[in-house]
Symmetry: D2
């Protein structure tokens, strides 16, 4: 899938639009996103750091889309582990998703949230279940 | 901590207010929340199911507040596992958080998201690190 | 499944026999085991605490058998999270496995390792995939 | 730490010796082990695949030693997620451990179990807590 097609798919969720997620690059089993969360996604009013749930949201999206990219089918998250390494600023961030293993029914993917200025902020690893091919979506 | 005090603390995050999280009940090491996510939290435009990241957000909040309730200090999430059992509707849902183990520096907590009509939708288990006592917050 | 039948199934693995796992009780979606690890399962020579991998082994076994008990089919572990709360002694310990959710293909289960004298030592939560019915095993 | 010194440390656990874990190579924040599990580590008598708990043991060891290598201090596992991608044969296998993030108290590490003939079999990600410097061990 090319970047504009992936952006179109990403934009179907109001959650992704609110976090201003943009598809930047796609490889065969990897996706690169940028996002621009705002003060409405902060852990506290006036704080400069992101709510942990927003970090999980960004990582979940990137991991899922890496599997979509690798297979051309849709995937649903079965379970996800998120590791919070350092507080993430409410600023432009980069998210990388990687498909690790693709089976007939189950897929595994990882994701990494980074601040381009300071490095990795959080990582995730999850199990996903295969849904219908994208071409069969209504 | 009584329910109104916990509600006050919950409301300090714009993310919690957006998901309309309300403290319903608090025990010594357990919290019960209700939430009312809207269509802006759906997995896709027009879909009736919640984005997985919003589910992680709700579970993370309940688990963290269970540790706050058990200790009177603030806690930050170190890592979190979320298990998605069934699609969660964008409707009024119940979240229970439970402190499992409290150490001098690390705490463990679990959480459960339920639909009062149909049962458990998702569960979580995480490790947390102790921050300053609430009484020392600015 | 009754306790003797579960013991027979448990004993088919040399790993379970080495850890001296005994089926103590079975409910509809829960199993209770006892085990008696020895100095050969210690974290270090001469240490009195169990190697973390042995704790994972005990929790994995109990969680898997809870799903076997709940369904009458065999299950394989897809992924497992283990939380180590306190060092576990190389002594008689109790393990409880609980089936949390059973789907047509995926199951979820948790497990808890306890010292009868001091309480919970470690917990686990995992995703499992359904294999063939036990009645069809060779 | 050089390979012989790491082998000496590994050999202090009877569990590592039973699985015939050998330190093959060490980098600044990475370790490479080989192991040779036998039929006593199989999932079932006569089966050619490893018990899942033995896979967790191998991954836990490699992740922990990657942090030891990165810091010169000892570490204890706080929690660990293991992903089982494919059945692992009771044969010579390779384990790679990588330190991902090192903090003053908490560390994060991942590990990967591979069959040199067929590729990755299982992965793990965990949180660890810092213990005393190795130089202070008795």
């Amino acid at each position: 899938m090319q970047t504009p097609e992936m952006q179109h798919l990403l934009d179907q969720s109001p959650v992704h639009r609110a976090l201003r997620i943009r598809a930047e690059d796609t490889l065969s089993a990897e996706v690169w996103f940028r996002c621009q969360p705002g003060p409405e996604h902060a852990g506290e009013d006036g704080a400069s750091y992101l709510h942990g749930g927003m970090i999980a949201t960004l990582l979940d999206a990137a991991a899922t889309f890496a599997l979509i990219q690798a297979t051309g089918t849709d995937w649903a998250t079965v379970d996800l582990r998120v590791d919070y390494l350092r507080p993430a600023p409410c600023a432009e961030l980069v998210i990388k998703g990687s498909a690790v293993h693709v089976g007939s029914r189950l897929g595994r993917a990882t994701a990494e949230l980074s601040d381009p200025r300071t490095g990795v902020l959080a990582t995730a690893a999850g199990t996903f279940t295969r849904l219908q091919p994208l071409s069969e979506r209504p």
